[in-house]
């Protein structure tokens, strides 16, 4: 079986994250880039299947600037078989539709039985890419799975919503996205890091996967303005001396919130 895992480099959520106020794009210089935690879990889900089913191929795929290579290497060091990295200056600031079309084209080129993605990226992604990619590929999608069972020719899992719990399934090939209910990504070992250096690593531009970035017939979603909110400031801070609950009640009354 061939599993393609969609991975994305994002600004580390532990640091300050900024948008460039000129371009509206993520300011990559302002923070440390990391492999999104949810995508580590997606890689882990694929590797767990591969561990139990020898012969499984796990290809990690990203569309990102050339500088994301270190992040892709991390997924290889975890144990992925090979990597496909779409790099193209013309894709800077690509909207969701273009991103989905590029990823789908690369997936088709690579070949796949199953695509695993994160349900939601932490850098403001809307959790829509997996379903868009599925539509472009003409296959079923199962999104936001909190459990995952990969069979020989089908995939199934659970999805939790406010209304209840659902069990969903689809025939392969299919696209799934997983939530943080799935296990964390495994640690990389020195051996894994060394092995990653020798693994197949393909770098392609948009044209190589057959996408015309500048197609004037296709509408794009563009940023028209960006503004920064002033940061929040701390207010009153007291140490409880036995009456903090009463003081808080008085504060809430004074604020008119109760």
């Amino acid at each position: 079986m061939k599993i393609v895992v969609l991975i994305k480099e994002v600004p580390d959520t532990w640091g300050e994250r900024r948008l460039d106020l000129e371009t509206g794009l993520t300011d990559r210089a302002a923070s440390t880039p990391v492999l999104d935690e949810i995508d580590e879990r997606a890689v882990e889900a694929a590797l767990a299947h591969a561990d139990a089913h020898p012969g499984t191929e796990v290809v990690v795929l990203t569309m990102a600037p050339a500088s994301a290579a270190a992040t892709v290497r991390k997924a290889l060091a975890m144990g992925a078989t090979s990597a496909v990295h779409i790099v193209d200056d013309a894709l800077r600031g690509a909207d969701l539709l273009l991103t989905a079309e590029v990823l789908a084209a690369a997936i088709r080129r690579t070949g796949f039985d199953l695509v695993i993605a994160g349900n939601l990226s932490t850098d403001g992604g809307g959790g829509v890419l997996p379903a868009m990619v599925a539509e472009v590929l003409g296959v079923a999608q199962l999104t936001a799975l909190s459990s995952l069972e990969v069979g020989e020719d089908s995939v199934a899992g659970g999805r939790v919503s406010d209304a209840g719990t659902m069990r969903v399934s689809a025939a392969l090939p299919a696209v799934v996205s997983i939530t943080e209910a799935l296990p964390e990504g495994r640690f990389t070992t020195f051996k894994g890091i060394m092995a990653a250096k020798k693994k197949p690593y393909e770098t392609l531009d948009a044209a190589a996967v057959g996408i015309d970035v500048e197609d004037p017939a296709v509408p794009r979603y563009i940023m028209v303005s960006v503004a920064e909110r002033p940061p929040r400031e701390a207010g009153i801070k007291i140490t409880d001396e036995g009456d903090a609950g009463e003081k808080l009640a008085a504060f809430l009354v004074a604020e008119g919130v109760v």
Binding site: E135, G164, R167, Y221, E228
Partner: protein, 317 residues
Amino acid sequence: MAVALVLLEVLPGGALAASSAGLLAAARRVGDPVALIAGPADAAAEAAARGAVRVLTADIEPGALTVPVVDALAAAVAQESPDLVLASNSVESRDAVARLAARLRLPLAADVVGVDRDELGVVAHHAVFGGAFSVDGAPTFGPLVATLRPGAVTERLDPQPLVVERLEVVASGVRSGRVESFSETAAPSTRPELRGAKVVVSGGRGVGSRENFALVEQLADVLGAAVGASRAAVDAGYVPVSAQVGQTGVTVSPRLYIALGISGAIQHRAGMQTATTIVAVDKDPEAPIFAIADFGIVGDLFTVVPQLISALEAPKK
């Protein structure tokens, strides 16, 4: 006038989802809100009561995931030529409009907090990185597909006379997943929904156990608040995952947010820092939550909260 097509969700019980009123009100800023209910017409009257000028209904193949709704949306778009297609940013609705956008090759704006129209066309508003940045986006031409963050729009519309129309849908035959089973949440909470709640009381790892979490719920009930939690509290099993506030949980923007035993990690703050007033109770004076709290108490939540509850209840007695 221009049409804004709105996908409404029907709950398992047959009523419209709580997101419906906000969706219709948001869409009204762009055009006449025409509702699509992918299912029986039973909820149509409710859609009109919430401001839909017309309600389209479509028969849906039961058990098939998403694709039949996409087919209905595509038929509605062909019929109405809307300037905007708006749906809730819930998992089900966003899957449907994401596939629609990919199928029709339309631009998609995800997780918007509002939509508007200017002289050039439709504009969508986003709150990025926990609300630290406001971004506006627009399609280069043609209609926009967008998903609206639940609870982000509190405006409501006046009821409209009921006009229902059955939509003819040709099945696309695109492969879909299947819903094999569904079990409804045992006792649906009587508390307000977290998304869009005016007051939220959240508990973190500091609450210590599932049993202790009752104290958080008790304060929530005194304040008529929704219950939230940190990821650590969810991971420890004190509360279901639907209560998670933050980066990878729900984003809330209430009038009052009370954090109990939550240190205020950056990923938690990303989901609540746009609250009007923030109150925090934490034992650790260095907890980062205090950097954004309007009223911070360094203390034990198990003494502060019971005292707060008695003080709030005292005038009522």
